[in-house]
């Protein structure tokens, strides 16, 4: 069964303290891996898509990387406004193309 596991469940960092969030996945065939950001009371907001091992994407203080079994979301010198839940999702290459989400990592950046 296709599965997405994110760790840690929650992470508290001081402003400026860099860290990484992990997303490990098990799918029959990976079509794409996605990162989303979700603020409280809002819908998820798309950040990145990664398609193949070795690929990297960057946006401001965020960088996403992908291996054959996992993805990392690196946060460099975070600011309080980076506080949110970060969701990882995968699309498996089965016939209905559904996107499966992990449970997310709640990130809190302390000023």
């Amino acid at each position: 069964e296709d599965q997405v596991t994110q760790s840690p469940e929650a992470l508290r960092l001081q402003e400026g303290e860099s860290s990484s969030l992990n997303c490990s996945y098990t799918v029959s065939g990976l079509r794409g891996l996605f990162w989303y950001r979700q603020d409280p009371g809002k819908g998820p907001e798309f950040l990145f898509t990664l398609y193949s091992a070795g690929e990297e994407k960057e946006k401001e203080r965020l960088k996403a990387t992908l291996t054959k079994k996992e993805s990392f979301l690196h946060i460099t010198a975070p600011k309080p406004e980076d506080s949110a839940t970060y969701l990882c999702a995968v699309q498996a290459s089965d016939r209905d193309d559904k996107i499966i989400f992990g449970k997310g990592t709640r990130l809190h950046i302390l000023p």
Binding site: G32, F34, G43, P44, I99, F101, K103
Partner: protein
Amino acid sequence: DTAVSQTPKYLVTQMGNDKSIKCEQNLGHDTMYWYKQDSKKFLKIMFSYNNKELIINETVPNRFSPKSPDKAHLNLHINSLELGDSAVYFCASSQDMWRANTGELFFGEGSRLTVL
């Protein structure tokens, strides 16, 4: 101008009642989805429609019935509500099914359903 809008934002009702949530997107997308986010924040797909045609129907009780009158609208009707139906329901859209592999889903703000 909201891209994906859902109504109502909050819904509180008694067990056994029937309720509907409406969703509209003004992005010109072909594909729309319903996701359920439970108390543990786990986001799980329920249905997807592509150009008004049902594509994905996960293991969801028959009490849940989606309806897509046109490709810009996807409504969710729930019969005989149960306590376990309490969750936040998100509508989303993507340009089309096959491009959904860009992973770019546009989500609404969610409809929080509380069943008492």
